[in-house]
Symmetry: C2
Subunit: 110 residues, 2 copies
């Protein structure tokens, strides 16, 4: 069941860090992890669509390449705050966030 969910996530094209262990998490914890991944994914997609490097994105965000890499990897050292601030900084609107999160919910609940 949980294993199949994980398989489903991976099949949907989400990069699930191998270090992430879904099997021990409560609903709340899982939701948070998946939220982080969804936002990460959004950020990477945005960057890729623009053909920017992590260095260039980092410059726009006034951050560093290494932190951008961690953001995009959904690293646990990255806060939801930073991800959200970054998305807003590159022009995302609350509506876009909502869309990303709703998609996430559909994967989780469906």
């Amino acid at each position: 069941m949980k294993t199949s969910k994980r398989a489903k996530l991976e099949a949907a094209g989400w990069s699930i860090g191998s270090a992430q262990d879904f099997l021990q998490l409560s609903d709340a914890e899982r939701a948070l992890v998946e939220l982080r991944l969804a936002l990460s994914h959004s950020l990477r997609n945005w960057r890729k669509r623009r053909g920017l490097s992590q260095v260039e994105l980092a410059r726009r965000l006034k951050s560093s390449q290494s932190r951008v890499a961690k953001m995009e990897a959904g690293d646990t050292s990255v806060s939801v705050d930073l991800l959200v601030r970054s998305l807003f900084a590159i022009g995302a609107k609350p509506k876009d966030l909502a869309k990303t999160i709703r998609r996430l919910d559909e994967r989780v609940a469906g």
Copy 2:
């Protein structure tokens, strides 16, 4: 214009801290502030609907009354992380978050 937006927000029942100065913020900063307020509001609504005190909610969240008060006030010392984690902890689903954020967007954009 900005003043009218503020009036609109207040009219809609949002508690805008008098210390918040909307007039100087970029779109990204404003979006973040408003996101914080929207989540704060959700949290308070949830608690009120249940007829819980801040002390009781704090116990559930393994936090403190004072922090709950700050969360509900949208205090800048509170991270979006904490708000999101709290909402998930009390049983909110990503879908609920998305709904809250979408409503926010409609207020901002509309």
